[in-house]
Symmetry: C2
Subunit: 424 residues, 2 copies
Amino acid sequence: MIDSPIQDISAYMQELGRRARAAARELARAGTAAKNHALHAIAGRLDQQRAAIIEANQRDLAAGSAQGLDAALLDRLELTQVRIDAMIEGVQQVAALPDPVGAITDLNYRPSGIQVGRMRVPLGVIGIIYESRPNVTADAAALCIKSGNAVILRGGSESFASNQAIARCIQAGLMSAKLPEDGVQTVATTDRAAVGIMVAMPEWIDLIIPRGGKGLIERISREARVPVLKHLDGICHVYIDEYADLEKAFAIALNAKTQRYGTCNTMETLLVDVAVAQAILPRLAAAYREKGVELRGCPRTRAILPEIIPATDADWDTEYLAPILSIRVVDGLDAAIEHIARHGSAHTDAIVTEDYGRARRFLREVDSSSVMVNASTRFADGFEYGLGAEIGISTDKLHARGPVGLEGLTSQKFIVLGNGDVRV
Amino acid sequence: MIDSPIQDISAYMQELGRRARAAARELARAGTAAKNHALHAIAGRLDQQRAAIIEANQRDLAAGSAQGLDAALLDRLELTQVRIDAMIEGVQQVAALPDPVGAITDLNYRPSGIQVGRMRVPLGVIGIIYESRPNVTADAAALCIKSGNAVILRGGSESFASNQAIARCIQAGLMSAKLPEDGVQTVATTDRAAVGIMVAMPEWIDLIIPRGGKGLIERISREARVPVLKHLDGICHVYIDEYADLEKAFAIALNAKTQRYGTCNTMETLLVDVAVAQAILPRLAAAYREKGVELRGCPRTRAILPEIIPATDADWDTEYLAPILSIRVVDGLDAAIEHIARHGSAHTDAIVTEDYGRARRFLREVDSSSVMVNASTRFADGFEYGLGAEIGISTDKLHARGPVGLEGLTSQKFIVLGNGDVRV
C-alpha cells in the first residue's frame, strides 16, 4: 500500500472538492456523444492496461495477505482477467444506456398561458466511499460520467493500488473525449481522516454513496453533513399464503434463499400460512437440507419439523448473509404483513399467492423498497429491473428507493416556457 | 400564550413520534374516499368554528402586541374571515386533487419474464416547523393527509392558540372519516427545546420541512439528524438577452420585481446584455422609479443611469425581499450564466430572448430549480405549476426541487409481478 505524502488532509480534500465542482459544471453541459466517447475510451484503456492493472492488484493482494486479510476479503479484492472483462463490459453497457440528462417530461400548458415541464439534470458532485472490490471504481465512474456528475472516489486502503491503476485509465478516457479529467478523482491517500472530511463538505459534494459493510455505512451516516444514499440491512421475507400455488412457492422459497447466500436480496425469514405449513414445509426443509441450509423455526414450525433448532427473537431481526434461514408459521396475511413491518428492513419482500385480493393488499401495504408477487426476492437488482446498472440499493425513502441506476444520480428542475408572460 | 405543563419534553416528543408512526401505517393504507371525506369534514369544521378560531387568534394577537412584535409579523399572524375562507378553500382544493398514493407507473415486462414497475407511496411521518402564519396548520395538514402521511406540526409560539384551535378542527375531521386522530398532531408546548428534539428523531420522523426565515432553516439544517427539505435564499435573476423582444423584456422585468416584493421568487438582480442596455434601461428605470423601487447598478449601468447608486459586491449576493433591485450590464449569454452560477441561489432564473439557441442553452445550463424563457420569475409557485398546492419550495437537489406538492411528499417503491419466477 502506498501512502501518499499528503500533509494537510483537510486542504487536500477541499481542493479535490473544488476541482470536482468545476468539472461538474462542464460535465452537466457535456453532450451524449462526448460522454459515450469517454466511456468507450475508458473501456479501451482498461483493456490495453490489463497487465498494469493486474500488477497493481497483485501488490494489493500481497500486502493484504501480509496483513492477514481473510480469504473472503482477498477474493473480493482480486482482479482476474475474467473480472476485468466484466468491468470493461460494464462500462460499455453504461455507454449503451440512454442519456437521462436533459430529458424533458410533462411539458404542459397552464391556464395562465405558460408551459411548465421538468428537465432531468445531474446532481452535481457525488462522493463514493467503498470497500475492497476495485471494480466499483470503474462501475461508479461510468455511471457518474453518463449521468453528467463529477465523482470523488474513496476506495478501501486494501485496494489502493488497483483503484489508482483503474482511475488512470478513466482519466485518460475522459481526456480523450475532451471532458474534464477532474470529473473522476480518487482520494490519493489511505488516511482514514479523509472519509470524515469528505462526508462533511456540503459545499463541494451533493450526495455521498457508501458501499460496504454496515459498520462503514453507520459511521458515515453518523458523521455526514451531506445527504447519504444509504443501504442498511436486507432482511427479506417470502410469505407463502394460504392460496399459494405450492409448486411456485417451493421454487421461489428455494431460490430466494439458496441462489446466493451473501447478497442483500436473499431471503432471511420464510413466513408460511398455517393452512399450508404442513403441506409445504417438510418438502422445503428437505431441499434446504440438501443445500446445507441451517433452519431455525418458531414453535409451530418445529411442530412440523421437530429436527430443526428453535428460532430466538433475535433471529427475526438478523440478516444472516449465510446458509441460515428462520421460518415462522403465521395466521394469514395480516400476521405476515405485521411481522414484516416489525422485523423487516424495508428492502425486499414477496408474497406467493394466487389470490388476487391478497396480492393487491400485499403490494399496497408492505412498505419495502421492492414488493413482489410470485417472484424470488433475488430479482431485486438494477440489471434485473432494467436500470442497466446500479450504483447501489437504497433502503431510504427519500430521493431514491430500491436499486439506484442512472436516474437516481439525477434530479429534475422545472422549466417554464412563455411568450412574455407576467403574473397577475 | 399558553405554555402547557409538559415536564419531560423529550419523553413527550418521543410519544408524539411513536403515535405518528402508528398513525402513518393506517394513513398509508387509507383509501382515497376516506382521505377526501376527512378533508371535506375539516373544511366544514373550520367553517363552523370560525368564532373559536378568531377568538384564539385574537388572544395570540394581543399577546404578540404586548410582546412588541412588529407590524409585519402581526399581519402575518392575523386570521380574518377572508383568510379563513382561503384556508377552507385550500383544504377543499387538496381534496379535489388526484390521490398520488398507489399510482403504478412504468410497469413493463423484463426479459426474465417478471413485470417491474413503480408504485407511489407515502414517506411516512413528516415534521413541519413553521413561523407565524397559522394557515400553514391547515394547508400542511391537508397535503399530508392526502398524500397518506402522518404529520407533526410545530408552529411558532406567537400563533400557539390559533394553531391549536385549527388543529382541533383537523382532528375532528380525521375522526369523522374514521382515520387516526394522531395522523395530525401539534406540539402542545412553546418550549424551544421541542424543535431540537423533533429534528433529531429519525426513528419517528422521515422528513423535516421548515417554513420560515433563514435563521430558522439554518438552525434546523445544522441540528437535524433527519433529512430536511430546505428552502434557503431566493436570489432570482432575469437576463435580458441581445435578441430579446424589448416589450416582453419590459413587462417581465417589471413584473418579476414589482408584482410582490417579499416573495422568494421575486427578481433581485436584473442582468442586461450590453447590446440592449441603452435601449431598455432608461425606460425600465422610469417604471421602477414610479413604483418606488430603489436601483443599484454596476458601473456600466450607471453610465446609462447616472442617477442610481452604485451596487457593491454584496448586492449581487443579497436577497432584498424589498423594493430594491441591483442591475448589471453583462457581455452576452455566457457572462449572464456565469453571474447566475456565481451569485444565484439556484431558485428561479429567467432569460428573455427570441433566439432559439440561446433559450435552449439557458434552459440546459442554468442549474436552478426553475429555469424560464420569456416568463416572469413570479410564476415559480405550486399553484401556477399545477401542483395544486405547495408545502414549500425546495432549493435542494435531492428528492424534490422547486415547488413541492403532493408528489414531493411521496416516494416510489418497486413492485414486481411474477408467476413463480426464480433467478437463474
